[in-house]
């Protein structure tokens, strides 16, 4: 596959001009933004030349916000209002967070997702993440000199639906158009696979600051097919720091720590861990605000011993992923190391021992995810012609429903390729039953109470019938972002009742709107003008695409149909001249509806063409 094709400056990819699109790695410890420039994927630096943006947000009483290095340096000073590793709280309830006692935050238990009380008010992890994304968006817009068409945002492959939804909400809140949520190991595989023109089965071992993923991929003729994925969404470099921190407490025998001193020691713990990647021992010293001191030496052997159980905790999901893929370690052609924590020598050694080969580390483990995401963003924006690669990814955890007796019935098993849809039929168990409650679950466990609850909703208005006569079809649809929507419909009587749900851990549209309003009151942007501008841009894009399709495929439409679409375009153009963004939105929806049949015909024709070529290839 011709890759990294260099395009001459000024030679835009006709007929469209180059669309600005970026890849964003929203990490536990650091975040990055990258883009494809002149055919090459590059990380965009800030003005001071830093590529990494520490994923740290500090809130001030005057509603000011620091993000990145400025916030990082304040974490010991102002630990309650300086949020680090917020990714660990995304889509998580209070009960999900294990080491709550050692964290300096004032948690607020809220339905769905935990929140944090700061000097600037209560903040949800979605809002905190949005602050990080906003800084990256601004960095990209300044570097690229224009508004972004959209972004690919990466998530750990093992993120469940609630965590994915939270990430997408954060991006939306930061004013980003999400082209796709992309799994981090898959992004890394793009960056690696395409650079090395690889074919065969690869494992991506991704140990970040707070999450662990293992993905097994098959690379073949430009297709990246994820065979299986597994992981632990609460295991990462932070846990290694925690082990060193505990060792420091043993060494120092301190009186109970203040939040600031605890942060200080954690920072020292991380420094010690990082020093041990290059040295066989490190001297660890600290002076607390109480005047207490510690001065001790940590050897690499001691460090390896205290973290051995964490390393072996990554191998269990690795074995599961291989088994799900129906493969053994010896069938894996290469192992790609991703995430800052794979710099730790004992991690590299354990992976090398397990796969009996030296893992690939030639791309910077901190940057490889963002680089791959940028390459995918470039494809999704339509900037490349013809020689695109294709990603076929999977869902990491089974999706199901609670059935009688509190058991889980799997509807879509883990490692199913997305997009996917499955329907399951249910019936009523009482005469005259008019409602049925649906409880949507994610996880592998048999008991519903052991799985993550994604949503509960009730289907009402079922016509009264004898028990067992109603036919209620529950449909699960997982889109290409790995996000689930569920609908239920009673079919036997012709009466339909249906409902679409968003997972309860995601934010409702009203909540997003509220946050957007909050965000805009503190910004100079005029929300209304922005909304109007966005709708006009969308409408222009739709009209241009529709015209292009009609010019290309006029043969697929008869005169009446052509006239109907022309009418839709004319109506939308008229609305665009007006001031009402809601009306433009409705006009866009109407034109979309009017062109659906046309889109279907075009796709049918494309499929016929592709399969005709296929037959010649296979039989010829």
């Amino acid at each position: 596959m011709a890759l990294l094709q260099i395009s001459e400056p000024g030679m835009s990819t006709a007929p469209h001009q180059h669309r600005l699109a970026v890849g964003i790695d929203l990490g536990t410890t650091n975040s990055l933004v990258a883009t494809v420039r002149s055919g090459l994927s590059v990380v965009l630096d800030d003005e001071a030349g830093h590529s990494l943006l520490p994923s740290v947000v500090r809130y001030h009483a005057d509603c000011g916000v620091d993000v990145g290095y400025a916030a990082l340096s304040a974490q010991n000073l102002d630990p309650h209002n300086t949020i680090v590793s917020v990714k660990r709280f995304m889509g998580r309830g209070l009960a999900d967070i294990e080491d709550i006692a050692s964290l300096p935050y004032r948690f607020v238990d809220a339905p769905g997702m935990v929140q944090l009380r700061t000097v600037a008010g209560v903040k949800s992890p979605v809002e905190v993440s949005a602050e990080i994304l906003k800084v990256l968006r601004q960095r990209a817009e300044a570097a690229l000199g224009g508004e972004l068409l959209g972004a690919v945002i990466t998530v750990p492959a093992y993120f469940d639906d609630a965590q994915r939804q939270a990430t997408k909400d954060a991006a939306q809140l930061a004013g980003l158009n999400v082209l796709r949520l992309l799994n981090e190991p898959t992004a890394a595989a793009i960056a690696y696979g395409l650079d090395n023109a690889s074919e065969g089965v690869y494992a991506v071992y991704d140990l970040g600051g707070g999450t662990f993923d293992i993905s097994i991929l098959k690379l073949s003729k430009g297709v990246f097919e994820v065979l299986s994925t597994n992981g632990d969404s609460a295991l990462g470099g932070d846990d290694f720091d925690q082990r060193v921190f505990c060792w420091m407490l043993e060494q120092g025998r301190f009186s109970p720590l203040s939040a600031g001193d605890a942060r200080l020691l954690l920072t020292k713990a991380r420094d010690a861990k990082e020093a041990l990647t290059e040295h066989t021992e490190v001297r660890v010293t600290a002076v607390l605000s109480t005047g207490e001191m510690m001065d001790a030496t940590l050897t690499q052997a001691e460090f390896n011993a205290m973290t051995a159980s964490l390393v072996s905790k990554t191998l269990t999901p690795t074995r599961k992923a291989l088994r799900d893929a129906g493969l053994t370690a010896s069938e894996v052609k290469g192992v790609v190391m991703v995430g800052g924590s794979t710099r730790t020598p004992c991690v590299r050694q354990a992976v090398a021992d397990f796969f009996k080969q030296t893992p690939l580390t030639n791309l910077d483990p901190d940057k490889v995810v963002a680089l791959g995401a940028a390459m995918q963003a470039d494809v999704l924006a339509g900037n490349r012609a013809g020689d695109d690669w294709l990603l076929l990814d999977v869902i990491p955890l089974s999706l199901g429903l609670e059935t009688m007796g509190g058991l889980t019935e799997k509807v879509i098993p883990r490692n199913t390729t997305i997009p996917t849809a499955r329907a399951q039929d249910f019936t009523t168990f009482k005469d005259g039953q008019t409602a049925m409650s649906v409880h949507v679950l994610q996880g592998e466990r048999e008991l519903a109470s052991d799985c993550r609850s994604l949503a509960r909703f009730e289907l009402r208005g079922i016509p009264p019938m004898v028990a067992g006569a109603a036919r209620i079809r529950v449909t699960f649809q997982v889109d290409a972002d790995g996000l689930l929507s569920v609908s239920a419909r009673e079919q036997s009587s012709g009466v339909e009742a249906s409902v679409q749900v968003k997972p309860s851990y995601g934010l409702g549209d009203e909540e997003i709107t509220r946050m957007l309003k909050d965000a805009f009151t503190h910004a100079k942007d005029d929300m209304y003008a922005r909304a109007l501008n966005e709708q006009i841009v969308d409408a222009q894009g739709l009209i241009a695409a529709t015209r292009a399709a009609m010019a290309e495929d006029s043969a697929l439409l008869n005169e009446t149909e052509t006239a109907a679409i022309e009418t839709g375009i004319a109506a939308l153009e008229k609305l665009m001249a007006g001031p009402d963004h809601q009306a433009i939105k409705r006009g866009i929806e109407a034109l979309n509806a009017a062109t659906t049949e046309f889109a279907q015909r075009r796709m049918d024709r494309n499929v016929r063409r592709a399969m005709a070529g296929q037959k010649l290839e296979t039989f010829g």
């Binding site: 297709v223 995918q376 294709l390 199913t416 290409a480 499929v607 592709a610």
Partner: protein, 175 residues
């Protein structure tokens, strides 16, 4: 999208249990290359929606044909037979006896915490799986014995469950 088309027709393959896996994989890739939502990410919503429906359908068809049990169930369904009908549980006594022996062997491996026993058992189960697949091809494609094929499909399902149980024991022993 033509919903009257069979999964075999979709991929341009002959309607048979015997499967040319390379041809299936290559047709699948070609189709996903054409219909996948990533190809339409910057297109209007109508096109994105059509792409998601198509890609979903292509994935469903691929999973059905690729999986030995699902392919058997699907082929029999095209003949108007429900192989997994809850009222039809006929199973050869010899197969049931063998089942019990395997189940005991799994329990023994678990109790003895023996990886080697488990590896050997796993090999046996996979070999038996392949034998039944070959029988199924014979029953459906040559003999057109759909009652016999239904039983073979049910046997394959049993084998899948046993293989999954062995996987669970691996997990237990590894952790």
């Amino acid at each position: 999208m033509d919903f009257t088309q069979t999964h075999f027709e979709l991929f341009g393959l002959p309607q048979s249990y015997a499967l040319n896996r390379d041809m299936l994989d290559s047709a699948y890739r070609e189709l996903q290359n054409t219909v996948h939502p990533d190809r339409f990410a910057s297109q209007p919503e109508a096109e994105q929606r059509v792409a998601m429906q198509w890609a979903t359908q292509v994935n469903e068809a691929y999973q059905t044909l690729r999986h030995p049990v699902n392919r058997g169930v699907y082929l029999l369904k095209l003949q108007g037979i429900d192989a997994l009908d809850a009222n039809n549980t006929k199973m050869a006594p010899a197969f049931l006896m063998q089942q019990m022996e395997w189940r005991e062997a799994i329990d023994d491996a678990r109790a003895g915490k023996s990886m080697d026993t488990l590896d050997a058992l796993s090999d046996d189960l996979h070999a038996a799986h392949r034998r039944i697949e070959a029988q199924l091809a014979e029953l459906i494609d040559a003999a057109h014995d759909y009652a016999g094929a239904s039983e073979a499909v049910r046997q394959l399902r049993f084998m899948d469950k046993l293989i999954a149980e062995v996987g669970d024991v691996y997990e237990e022993l590894e952790s």
